[in-house]
Symmetry: C2
DNA sequence: TAGATTGTTAATCGATTAACAATC
DNA sequence: TAGATTGTTAATCGATTAACAATC
């Protein structure tokens, strides 16, 4: 058993945890109770070595000669990620994307609590989405005083994301999930995770392009 | 100048190209015409070495003693990614997310052509989104016969993604942009790019959790 | 020309895989 | 116990950074 103080786990390992979590959840749903790194590796298309190395960054979750108890491992990964912490989440920018994200089933299932939506467009303010009324941006400060929030989902246009991010940082936000087509610059203690959709689509385009080149030569 | 046949550029380099493209586009908009790897590296928070190494996977785009002509480099990266190929794109699954993606401004600006939306929910079929009428899934085969498509955006629930993906592969799709909360299994010649939103949110949660742990100890 | 900056090689760093002793 | 599989160390592989000769 390693120290709880998982100080320097490389980010590349962290980014694999949600995928493990996903596969383990699936197995659990199928009623499977234990699994070896070898058979999990075959399902996931990675090496068993990598799975064991990754998990051992956090502690000895397995049992020699037996493998891993799926329920336990699933729970532990959830804890590492902080899914039981019930992070309070707000959506800033209730356009098409913001509203779609509000209705995204997965987030609340994974323990995130959607508390409010904000926008400055009169056309959407007052609309009810996923049981919540879209509030004007002016209410942001008051909301943070009363309720507070851990995570803000940034679904605003590129042009306003800088200003909005600064405002949220001033209000004490802990993490920003950024969907705008630009990187944002925040103090080091604020966590940022970017979802650059256009970047991802361009990467897909590259793969097609490469495939086409390959077949022509 | 290296060979055009950019066969073995590591994926990790490819994934950085859209970000270069983004920064270069921004500079271009600001009227900047040339840049050195050093000053670009400062803007982007990466090393100048990495920029030069990355770009040299594709050819000598720069000029010693001068740097890179932004317009030229921007164009070249666009070509590498295949942005001028006008990839025909369809959205399968016109729920909240699918409809939001249809309205996403960035894609058409980057050369992707949205041709059609499909869904099997009577409640949305016939609705007009972004100038296109949502069609029933039955029309898929006919559409591919008449028009064809390169990329399908998969915004269907996890439960049907496997079936939908198989169907699209049978129709000759070249790339799948997968938004469902599951990995998909397709023949090797079909490109897949996953956008696992929940995975990304969990990664963000980890960062918050780590931050909190750190401040408590 | 002198200064600047690339393209590219070599050195370093980090991540993945292989191997195996420990042990359930 | 014997077989299986982990945890962990060592070996390999790949990616990043540093350095510098080439050259604009």
């Amino acid at each position: 058993m390693k120290s709880e103080n998982s100080k320097n786990v490389p980010m590349v390992v962290i980014r694999r945890l949600p995928r493990y979590y996903r596969y383990l959840g699936e197995l659990l749903k199928q009623g499977v109770t234990r699994i070896s790194s070898k058979s999990l590796s075959e399902k996931m298309g990675v090496t068993a070595s990598q799975i064991r190395q990754d998990l051992n960054c956090f502690g000895g979750f397995g049992q020699q000669g037996y493998g891993y108890k799926i329920e336990n491992l699933y729970y532990e990964i959830g804890e590492i990620l902080g899914l039981s912490r019930g992070y309070k989440t707000v959506i800033v920018g209730a356009g098409n994307l913001g509203r779609a994200l509000a209705n995204h089933a997965g987030f609340e299932k994974r323990g995130f609590r959607l508390m409010a939506l904000f926008d400055n467009d009169e056309a959407v303010i007052g609309k009810k989405i996923h049981g919540l009324t879209i509030q004007p941006m002016d209410h942001l400060e008051e909301f943070f005083e009363k309720e507070g929030a851990d995570i803000a989902i940034l679904a605003v246009p590129k042009s306003s994301v800088k200003e909005v991010a600064d405002r949220l940082v001033a209000l004490g936000i802990k993490g920003l999930w950024n969907f705008s087509y630009t990187d944002i610059d925040v103090p080091e203690h604020v966590a940022v995770e970017n979802v650059h959709l256009t970047d991802s689509l361009m990467t897909l385009a590259y793969k097609l392009t490469k495939e086409e080149m390959g077949s022509k030569e």
